[in-house]
Symmetry: C2
Subunit: 411 residues, 2 copies
């Protein structure tokens, strides 16, 4: 007997019929002899409905009260799913975040889980119940209702799995796993049977929006076996887990991409200590997040400085940079919001040389110019003109032979 | 500075605009220098929507889960009202039943309040907040969400007022007070400025559906000054309070009526000990509530036995009675579901003789036949043919001079 945590998102519980279907899937797992804890989101559309009610009350709804309001969405789903399970003769009991003491800090609308008391859930499971828990929500030290921010139900599921010491945490989504590249771009992209936390983090942060990044971080921290699978089709999905011996050989897991960024450059900056913080300080002060940063020393004791921001922040960032440019006596400022980032990701590249050069050559062979490069232990990212995005992804997918499955499997 | 509890029902908070209007009324009281606690119901229609969702999951939804579901209705309202108040620059903080420890027994869907911890509310008030509390809901000893049953928000408000030792509990409704008779029947019915708990209980139990009976019982038990007033118009409403010297003189407060009953008679019952329980036992076993009971001993050592039940239970009760009749060897069974009950109510009748005879004479003068009579310390009820209901109410209203206001006032 294993303890399995399952998480179903808003689309999977979007209608009465879908909740019934989720009940059937839950019962299937229970019938295999497992204890089952189910974490659910609000029915799709419900959170938007509540937000719009809030907006009709106030342009800036009190964060505390917004959490009181939004948390009702998941509370409706847990009750309905529990009723459906009981109707199908499988006793179920629901809990709100507060009822199982999913304790968070007090950052309303974007709280972080601090602690979970597993005892009440274990007791309900041992009494023979299926336990249904509201995702996305918790309570702070003073008993105020908090929410984890959009997508927080993934984090609830993983945190619950960690607290319960569950055997597996299964996240049901509208895709049947994590792919070597976006299947909408690369026709022969392959589902990866297994991937490490680190790789998934890189994939997620690079725009593969299957899982919320925080939930993967949580899973890695507490070593929770995380599986992404489809709510609508059967299949093993993709297991996200710790690196093990078999996986050492994994060279490249997949090709990720991101078209949400924009690039800003300031050239001819006097090269002196502290210049980076002079440039990026005002950007950070404006709450703009910076992703890639590249600095090159030029010829005449000046330096060129390029960084990327979210595309939505482009205009704002450009204005700030122009002001900074005048202040520090830089030569020029330029920007480009028609860029894309393409990355190869794989834990194996740590121990294999030549990944980067193979990547650059493959792109060059297709006449694709690389504008920026950034590397981490397990990924190499390049910035391209956006028009080359699809071609670049397909080229790299093919260059690393991913149409035959992830290399780690063939070793 | 007084502490005022206000309660607004589903119609009063039925739309975004009405919630804004409630916020204005609350602020008005706050501006008069009072501390204000507001108890609200779910937006009108919301509870029905949730019940229908539940029914789509199961014909007999788990009572525990039904409470988890229904309690979201009030939770939405408290958040929205608090947002509206904050937007209007009056800091407000909302609490669910669980958050202020409205502790109930564990009878899901019809729980009774056991205890309330007032400390958290006092603290929020002393911090300068308007406190907004979800009606209708609580938690049991094990932290399960419970609901008090329909109309339970009145009880929440009164219990809250009792726990906080509030100066007054104001129930805002769609009528502007309690009247000497139903104004739809008696054109010159008068709003009563003040009425005792006992009178209100009789009025409520006799069909004046302004307040939930339990909330009046609660108010009497804890001596809470209860005021019924309109959400839509200004006015002092009706104060429901303890009997005091001025009120001793009150003879008749009002004429109540009820057309929800039906009458059953079993005649020629052998008159022997235990016969009443033999007749009413099976009725009670079928969960049918009995209201009036009249027994007369007949000539031939048999007795006639008449009682009233809710009209919805009439057919069921008649069938049971027919079975009983055969078993105990009664002569006949008859029933009538076209009856009405009309009552005169007043604490003053305790010390004044002649109320009943004045009542009977007034009805006789109009040719109205009385089918049953029942009396309590502060009321006399008669059962009439339903067709005489309006005439009977008007006749009595006039006979006791209520068009000039309640007698207690003129003394």
């Amino acid at each position: 007997m294993a303890l399995i945590v399952q998480k179903y998102g808003g689309t999977s519980v979007g209608t009465v019929e879908r909740i019934q279907a989720v009940a059937d899937k839950v019962i299937e797992t229970k019938k295999q002899g497992h204890q089952v804890v189910v974490v659910v989101s609000a029915m799709s559309g419900e959170t938007d409905r509540l937000v719009s009610l809030a907006k009709s009350m106030s342009h800036t709804p009190t964060p505390r009260e917004l959490d009181v309001l939004l948390s009702t969405g998941e509370q409706v789903t847990i009750a309905l799913l529990s009723m459906a399970l009981s109707e199908k003769k499988h006793p179920a009991v629901s809990f709100t975040g507060g009822q199982v003491h999913i304790r968070t800090d007090n950052s309303h609308n974007k709280a972080r889980i601090v602690d979970i008391e597993a005892a009440r859930v274990h007791k309900a499971l041992n009494d023979g119940n299926i336990v249904v828990i509201a995702g996305f929500q918790g309570i702070d030290e003073d008993g105020n209702i908090t929410t984890l921010g959009r997508g927080g139900s993934d984090t609830t599921a993983v945190a619950m799995a960690a607290a319960l010491n569950a055997d597996e945490c299964r996240i049901y989504t509208d895709v049947d796993g994590v792919y070597t590249a976006d299947p909408r771009i690369v026709e022969d992209a392959q589902r990866m049977p297994v991937i490490t936390y680190e790789e998934m983090l890189e994939m997620a942060s690079l725009g593969s929006k299957v899982l919320q990044i925080r939930s993967v971080e949580f899973a890695r921290k507490y070593n929770v076996n995380l599986r992404v699978l489809s709510s609508f089709e059967d299949g093993p999905g993709t297991l996200i887990t710790d690196e093990d011996e078999n996986m050492e050989a994994a060279l490249i897991s997949g090709i990720a991409h991101n078209r949400d960024e924009a690039k800003l450059t300031i050239v001819g900056v006097p090269d002196q200590p502290g210049i980076a913080s002079q440039i990026l300080g005002p950007i950070a002060d404006a709450n703009i997040e910076v992703d890639m940063i590249v600095q090159n020393v030029g010829l005449d004791n000046t330096t060129d400085f390029t960084f990327t921001v979210n595309r939505a922040d482009f205009d704002k960032a450009l204005k700030i940079l122009e002001k900074t440019s005048t202040e520090i006596g830089a030569k020029d400022v330029s920007g480009d919001n028609k860029i894309a980032k393409v990355s190869v990701v794989g834990v194996g590249m740590r121990s294999h040389a030549g990944i980067a050069s193979k990547m650059f050559k493959a792109l060059a062979d297709e006449g694709i110019n690389i504008q920026m490069i950034s590397t981490s232990e397990i990924k190499v990212s390049v910035v391209l003109a956006e028009k080359y995005l699809e071609l670049g992804v397909r080229t790299l997918h093919s260059a690393f032979g991913l149409e035959n499955g992830v290399l780690s499997e063939t070793n």
